[in-house]
């Protein structure tokens, strides 16, 4: 069998990142032992280079690697989102690593790059095997990253939970894929759809789809596979938490969209019911359980479950407009969440300060810039103007009303109200309560930089959403 022809242009970004990841491990071993900041710069440069190679591919449609790797606007959109997320997370990591004196720095950045590669593959393939490989590459890298506080029992517990539950989820998914393959004899999604067309008895495939969905529900942190989220988010190093809350989630949603719309359009009715259930449960459980949290990372963990619920509303609607809304929502959510975690990092950067919400007390006096930007992020997460957070919600709920799911939109909107309570609580701590010390908070420039970038993006997209709306509409073409 001849090897398939490879279009190196199409997989250039992934190749660059792979090379950079290997290079990072090597130079950490032999040249720049533990030179944290230099290694971080290499990582960011690699991500920027990959992004620079990805952007020109926007608008191109094609496949390579024997049709297992797809280039289309949908893939490029997600690739750019995860690349941006990874770059910002690396910028945030350097000071965190320095403060906590984490060991094996080279591997840390390499793992972040490997996870990014995995996510890029997940969003750019229509082949079940490739999806699985991308997913595992992401997951295994994330397991390692989540346990980087090697001596901290909380981190160890988190990573054990994450690892074991993640393995079960992956196994379930693979088991589901085996059903699908066994029934259709195909791993490529469009061929699966062809094989299924006209078949009457599809019970086995339905079971396979259900198993696969369970696996994805785990990865996107949707109810009822959400129990790992708060513990892992709390135990993992904060930059990794920021990464987990956006990257793997975005990629899993991308892969899920491909499977749903390309592989199993005939199952739309079944999917719909499941997604409606998952969306409602995730929104309510995420938001209601976020209210009593006293740890900001746990609160943001439950909030991320709720946001998975809002995104799943888009999947339940399953129109092209809804998918455009999903893309818009994910891109905006990435910006907001990374910004919020950057503030969390900045507040916890002081020696002896943890991640309790009470640590934010009186932040407006000690660090007015962080307080006002955190307010912007909280307002944005609640989906209020004048921030970008409004548009993701408006777009998804508009699509829901269009498809007659106005009651689902109503439930989603009511959930924004519930969420406002705990988001406003953070601002209450920052503005209404007195600080424990009067010392101004010293914030590393890197944290400030990420906060500036994200807050400006959130506000500018809030005022002028048209370009991003346009991009997500183009990228979602053909889905739905």
């Amino acid at each position: 069998m001849p090897l398939p022809k490879v279009n190196y242009l199409f997989m250039g970004p992934e190749l660059v990142l792979t090379a950079a990841a290997l290079l990072l491990i090597l130079i950490d071993l032999y040249f720049w032992r533990g030179r944290n900041r230099r290694l971080a710069v290499v990582g960011v440069m690699a991500l920027l280079a990959a992004a620079a190679m990805t952007i020109p591919l926007f608008g191109v449609r094609g496949t390579t690697l024997g049709k297992t790797l797809v280039v289309d606007p949908f893939a490029i959109f997600f690739k750019l989102v995860v690349l941006a997320a990874a770059a910002m997370v690396i910028v945030l990591s350097a000071d965190y690593i320095a403060k906590h004196k984490l060991a094996s720095v080279g591997e840390y950045y390499a793992m972040l790059l490997f996870a990014t590669i995995g996510m890029m593959f997940m969003s750019a393939t229509t082949d079940l095997i490739m999806i699985y490989i991308g997913l595992e590459l992401t997951s295994i890298s994330c397991y390692i990253l989540a346990g980087y506080h090697k001596t901290d029992p909380k981190s160890n517990e988190a990573v054990m939970k994450y690892f074991l539950l993640g393995l079960i989820a992956s196994a379930l998914m693979l088991y589901g894929f085996s059903f699908i393959y066994g029934f259709t004899g195909q791993t490529e999604l469009s061929r699966i759809a062809n094989a299924l067309a006209g078949q009457k008895d599809q019970l086995a495939v339905a079971a396979g789809v259900l198993f696969a969905l369970a696996g994805f529900a785990f990865k996107v942190a949707s109810v009822p596979f959400h129990q790992w989220v708060p513990d892992v988010y709390e135990g993992a190093p904060t930059p990794v938490t920021a990464f987990l809350s956006v990257g793997p989630k975005a990629a899993a949603f991308a892969a899920l969209a491909r499977i749903l719309f390309i592989g199993f359009p005939t199952f739309a009715g079944t999917w719909k019911i499941l997604f409606i259930f998952m969306a409602i449960a995730s929104m309510f459980i995420g938001n209601l359980l976020a209210i009593p949290q006293t740890n900001i990372k746990r609160m943001l963990a439950y909030s991320s479950i709720a946001h998975a619920g809002y995104i799943l509303v888009g999947f339940a609607v399953a129109s092209e407009a809804a998918m455009a809304g999903v893309l818009l929502y994910i891109a905006i959510y990435v910006l907001i969440n990374i910004g919020a975690f950057a503030v969390v990092l900045a507040v916890a950067h002081e020696p002896g300060v943890g991640n309790e919400i009470a640590d934010f007390n009186g932040l407006s006096k000690r660090a007015p810039f962080l307080a006002i930007t955190m307010t912007v992020f909280m307002v944005a997460l609640a989906g209020m103007p004048p921030t970008a957070g409004l548009w993701g919600k408006v777009y998804i709920f508009k699509a829901a009303v269009e498809k007659g799911l106005w009651w689902l939109a109503l439930l989603g909107l009511l959930n924004s109200v519930i969420s406002l309570y705990y988001y406003a609580n953070v601002t209450r701590h920052m503005y209404f309560l007195e600080p424990s010390s009067d010392q101004p908070l010293v914030t590393p420039a890197a944290f400030k930089g990420v906060v500036w970038v994200t807050v400006l993006a959130v506000l500018i997209i809030g005022a002028i959403p048209q370009p991003l709306v346009w991009l997500s509409a183009i990228s979602a073409k053909g889905f739905g």
Partner: protein, 490 residues
């Protein structure tokens, strides 16, 4: 160029807000002056707008329409008409006055002034937006500064009051958004333009449901009983200037939305609920007045009187007659001026006496004769003494309501007696008699008189020459109600 005036008025405060942010914390005077200049510019602009608005022609003027989010059909669509011009002027005037009234605040002054300016962005913009999405954005923007203004500078239970205000209004606006989306989709026109949607062919049932959703949003804001419970809390805890803006400007957003959207866009939907609105309006009048009567806290009394007065405005709108709606708009203006004055005076009294308990006050006419005199004057205006501002609006409203329902108009007229009752009784308790404390209270300072004077003058000007304002309002309301009648809303 005049068409950019609405845009300028909306975003001047935003520019000055950024200015304030970049002034160092300890330069308090610079911060205050920057804010004063910003709000002053807006006020001058608003005065110019009143002068430039061609009221003989009526209708929308100074319109700007630019594509904003073309993917969903949202436009940057700003214009003013005879309904919004008076309210915009009111908002600009009250904000300017509130900045002067807040001159003595020294706690976290930079944030305070920043939030005041941010509040003005929303509270001016909302009266100009003719696109539903733009309207929604301004509508929501107002919540954020208000939440902080109550929560940081408020009284003992400020946090509770702030979050209650925030959640109540947010719940309301969520239903409003759903109503907007329903109109958007069922019109099939792919636009959020209010005036285009007003002409769209939308199934009657959808119009009714959409209006019901929006009704909840507006009703919380007005507030109509039984959606009013956030208001007394917010008013009691809020600092003086914030109470003025809350009563004077924010509540007007609700009644304005009933006219602009209820009558202007979905009259058929509104028609189905007009009885409910009128009935709740009358209940608000009576219930608000009765509650005001039993209050021990002077500020809470004014807050409930506000609920009662907003009931008249709702009744006027629900009458769906040109005269009733004109009266409602006029009353919106007068209520903003009068209640603003009431809150300002309560603030001055509190500053001297450190109490708002009616029982502990007394003999203000003796101890502070100017303030006492002012209180009597605005109380008279508030219960609608002819020749003062409160009278004309209520009179027109009751005429309009009479055409709608004799019984409701009758009950509303009886409400005026209750209003006079509690206000006169309050005058008796706090102004007459002997002062209850030995220490002398300083009378109104020149600064206080200066910022009260424009409102005091307006009260008597509107009372004697209501035509000045009605000339602006009536062509627009007349045309609006003619359109409503043509559509078949009546």
């Amino acid at each position: 160029m005049i068409k950019w005036l609405p845009t300028a008025l909306t975003f001047i405060p935003l520019l000055f807000m950024f200015g304030v942010i970049f002034i160092p914390n300890d330069k308090q005077l610079a911060i205050k002056i920057t804010t004063l200049v910003g709000t002053g510019l807006v006020l001058l602009g608003a005065i110019y707008m009143v002068a430039a608005y061609d009221f003989a022609r009526g209708g929308f003027q100074m319109a700007v329409k630019l594509p904003w989010i073309s993917a969903i059909g949202a436009n940057y669509n700003m214009a003013v008409d005879g309904i919004s011009v008076p309210v915009i002027f009111l908002a600009a005037l009250l904000t300017f006055i509130c900045v002067i009234a807040s001159w003595k605040i020294d706690y976290r002054i930079k944030e305070y002034m920043g939030f005041m300016l941010f509040l003005e962005v929303g509270s001016i913009g909302v009266f100009m937006a003719l696109d539903f999405i733009l309207f929604y954005v301004f509508w929501e923007i107002v919540l954020i500064p208000m939440y902080f203004l109550i929560g940081i500078w408020g009284g003992p239970r400020k946090e509770y009051a702030a979050i209650k205000f925030f959640l109540y209004t947010f719940v309301g606006s969520v239903f409003m958004l759903l109503g907007i989306l329903a109109l958007y989709f069922y019109s099939g026109m792919h636009t959020f333009d209010m005036m285009a949607l007003a002409k769209a062919h939308i199934p009657t049932l959808v119009m009714k449901l959409a209006f019901l959703g929006m009704f909840l949003g507006f009703a919380v804001k007005v507030p109509i009983v039984p959606f009013h419970t956030w208001l007394p809390d917010a008013h009691v805890e809020a600092p003086t200037a914030v109470s003025v803006l809350l009563a004077g400007v924010l509540l007007k957003m609700g009644s304005y939305a009933f006219i602009r959207i209820g009558l202007g866009v979905v009259p058929i939907g509104m028609k189905a609920f007009v009885w409910l609105i009128a009935l709740l309006g009358v209940i608000s009048i009576i219930y608000g007045a009765l509650c005001a009567m039993v209050q021990k806290d002077l500020k809470k009394l004014v807050a409930y009187s506000s609920v009662s007065h907003m009931g008249y405005i709702m009744l006027g709108i629900a009458s769906m007659t040109a005269i009733g709606v004109s009266g409602a708009v006029l009353q919106m203006f007068s209520h903003g001026v009068i209640t603003g004055m009431l809150f300002l005076t309560v603030g001055v009294i509190y500053e001297r006496s450190h109490t708002r308990e009616i029982e502990k006050l007394g003999g203000i006419l003796v101890s502070m004769s100017l303030i006492g005199g002012i209180w009597v004057y605005i109380s008279l205006a508030s219960f609608g003494l002819p020749s003062l501002a409160g009278f004309v609006g209520e009179f027109l409203i009751i005429i309009g309501a009479f055409k709608f329902s004799h019984i409701l108009a009758g009950v509303a007229a009886l409400g005026i007696i209750l209003t006079a009752g509690y206000l006169l009784w309050t005058i008796q308790r706090i102004c007459l008699g002997e002062p209850k404390t030995a220490e002398p209270w300083a009378d109104a300072s020149p600064r206080e008189l200066a910022y009260m004077m424009p409102l005091l003058v307006l009260i008597v000007v509107i009372g004697f020459f209501p035509g000045v304002v009605l000339r602006v309002i009536e062509p627009t309301t007349g045309a609006l109600m003619a359109t409503v009648a043509k559509i078949g809303g009546l």
